[in-house]
């Protein structure tokens, strides 16, 4: 089957599934799933840039998604001036000390003779640097976290519109990827995988514990929104009019009291759907932009070079391609895309919760999306994002439904039934693993295989 036909069929199936969810559960649920599908698709595009284009086995996607989320907080939250006054200077001094310490370590590295003097010099510089940084950092952090700890206790953000954070999230993730790449890209492929897995855990640990940055596990809630609030919509005249016109059939012929109640209910429902549609529009725009750019890049000479690096590193190197720098490029670009998606996710949730990041959901699941969709094919990654997120999110209700159907004959409190209902919640990973393994085995190039233009 041609790739185009597969794409058409695949996206039709996804659309049908979303419609089925809309009719079976509710349109609100269907749209919520659709929004997360869009975000997942962007993340999958990011991983596809790394794995599909250049064969980079990065298992640290979670870190970049979380950094994107952090950017959403740092850009959109209002600044906490008291905290800035209490600890800003100390933090700046700590940063200066860090630079100083790094500088002296670097100097020790450069100036001292090889062997024991150099090792001792570096160790001494590092230890002294540690204490010097701690001397400024610890009191500053304490002062910042003491400012109104129940509501703020952190530095706050820039107070800018949250849409800006999508770009900022990409930049932050790209910067982090550059720094991580400097350390990890020299490693062999499988060590690189383990190293990125480790780094992503560390990034999450930092976000959980550095309360001065984004309140750590105390979470930042009530983030700014790029779309109107439901409650405002319900009071807006134009929106009420819109609901009235759209539902004129259902509302026709109702008595006054009933009419008001019915209109109220319809308005509440419509406002939720309207907000989700707004998000969907924004996310879809981002997805299309990223997709267009990725597609453009993949079809360019640069994309061809990347495939050469992926398929045979040694041959590419022999032809004068700088493999390390090409890897760095895709690592940074792909991570930036994941960062954008991470910021979008936090925007949609309206809160930043470091505890919610776990590698199964934010790293390995994204990998499943890329592999299932078809690594190396951008459209495939997008489709993979849709399919995998849909099955991930709908596995639980479907399993519950199946359990209900199976145990319909049993009594309500039957222990076996209770046990099965509990278990139904955990079939997700089993389903995901099975899908991944089946696709790898029977359709290793994914649902929409890579197409290589000659």
């Amino acid at each position: 089957m041609r790739a185009n036909a597969r794409a058409v069929i695949g996206f039709s199936v996804v659309a049908a599934a979303l419609l089925a969810v809309g009719m079976g559960q509710s349109w609100s649920v269907s749209l919520a799933v659709f929004n997360l599908c869009l975000i997942s698709a962007v993340m999958a595009l990011g991983v596809n840039i790394q794995w599909g284009y250049a064969g980079l086995f990065n298992v640290g996607t979670m870190a970049f998604a979380a950094l994107g989320g952090l950017a959403a907080v740092l850009v959109s939250q209002p600044p906490v001036h008291d905290a800035m006054a209490a600890g800003g200077a100390g933090l700046l001094a700590a940063v200066a000390m860090t630079c100083l310490a790094a500088g002296s370590v670097w100097l020790a590295c450069r100036l001292l003779p090889r062997g024991r003097p150099r090792a001792l010099g570096i160790a001494a510089a590092a230890v002294a640097g540690y204490f010097a940084v701690a001397a400024f950092f610890d009191p500053a952090v304490e002062a910042i976290e003491a400012v109104d700890p129940s509501t703020s206790g952190y530095l706050g953000g820039l107070g800018l519109p949250i849409m800006l954070s999508w770009a900022a999230g990409g930049l932050l993730a790209a910067g982090a990827a550059w720094a991580i790449g400097r350390v990890a890209l020299g490693l062999r492929a499988d060590y690189f995988a383990i190293a990125t897995l480790g780094i992503s855990e560390i990034v999450i640990a930092v976000l959980k514990n550095e309360d001065w940055l984004a309140r750590g596990v105390k979470n930042v809630t009530g983030l700014d929104r790029p779309v109107p609030y439901e409650i405002d919509l319900q009071q807006a005249g134009w929106f009420l009019e819109l609901v009235r016109v759209l539902n004129s059939d259902a509302l026709a012929g109702l008595a006054e009291a009933e009419y008001a109640a019915a209109l109220r209910e319809l308005t509440v429902e419509a406002s939720g759907i309207f907000v989700k549609l707004c998000y969907a529009g924004l996310f879809l725009a981002v997805l299309l932009i990223v997709l267009a750019l990725s597609e453009r890049a993949l079809r360019s000479p640069w994309g061809r070079m990347m495939r050469a690096v992926r398929d045979n590193e040694t041959a590419a190197e022999a032809l004068g391609k700088d493999v390390y720098r090409r890897h760095m490029q895709v690592f940074v670009l792909g991570s930036a895309v994941v960062g954008v998606a991470g910021a979008m996710l936090v925007t949609l949730d309206g809160q930043f919760t470091p505890n919610s990041y776990n590698p199964l959901r934010f790293t390995f699941l994204i990998w499943v999306m890329v592999i299932v969709g078809g690594s190396g094919n951008n459209l495939g990654a997008v489709l993979g994002g849709f399919i995998v997120w849909l099955s991930w999110i709908e596995a639980e209700p479907l399993a519950l439904w199946a359990v209900d159907a199976l145990t319909a004959a049993m009594a309500e409190g039957d222990p076996i039934r209770v046990r099965l209902v509990e278990a139904a919640a955990h079939v997700r990973p089993i389903l995901m693993g099975t899908i991944l393994l089946l696709v790898m085995r029977f359709s290793p190039r994914g649902v929409i295989p890579e197409t290589v233009g000659r």
């Binding site: 086995f57 990890a184 499988d190 060590y191 383990i194 514990n209 990973p429 089993i430 693993g433 991944l436």
Partner: protein
Amino acid sequence: MDIDIVNAAVLLANFVVVPAIAYGSQLALGALGITLVYGILRFANFSHGDLMAFGTMAAILGTWQLQAWGIGLGLLPTALLALPVGIAAAVAAALAADRTVFRFYRVRRSAPMVLSIASVGVMFVLNGVVRVIVGPDDRSFSDGARYLINAREFKSVTGLSEGLSVRTSQVLTLALAVAAVAALFWFLQRTRAGKAMRAYSDNEDLALLSGVEPDRVVLLTWAIAASLAAIAGTLYGLDKSFQPFTYLQLLLPMFAAAIVGGIGQPMGAIAGGFLVAFSEIALTYPYKKFLRYVLPEDMQPDGLVQLLSTDYKLSVSFAILVVVLLWRPTGLFRGRVL
């Protein structure tokens, strides 16, 4: 002064040495499994943590059944009796995974990366199975005497102001780990099958030419790795508590231990396990009280003197990993570079 030094030593033993020995043994057993699979089957097995969880789960179910029957070991935890169940379950799971997933790629000599990604799939499935069977919550299954040496008794016997407590599970961990490692080394060094495994790890083609049966080597590798995983997981569960997700988090320190020691080097995996465990615990222990005993009155520290917050435990293993990889890519024990 002298008594202060003893007190300081006891303090350190209680909070650093004893826990690190127990944790190190658990990591070492896990890392041995990883290093064997890495060295012989030649891929990074991401499902090892969940294989551990699976074996532990079976051991827990066995323990509960034994407890329900009223069978116990007195002072020792009942889980010891149920350990064979855990081992059998883990071996069965590993062999089933190999038969259904890994063999396919091995036969067609796929890239190690492909096998690693397949192991992610296996990880998902095992993770889900464990959660379906026992649920995601904390499960406690330790029984018997909790302490072998009680802090209070220790204080009253020795007259020191610092207590030393040694949990039964910690001693058990060390004893079982030593036994398992001794058995493993005897097997690898002395038996025909063990030698065949080492030969296969060293040079696959040469081993095949010399008449080593690849299927048997693979089977043995999985059986040993899974047994060690089940033992390590059960001991970890006894020592701390069982929660399916913690085993996923053990993956990183175990990989660090295996790589730091040198891939394919059993001795290295053990050394790596202890190195990681000791660094993790020593770097996150607050030394305030220790220094109070050792330093003179006027040099007392104000802070906790904790080098790293406890929450950064994971980063320690990673830092060790990176330093070793940059400084000596083959690991401390000159392992293979695949």
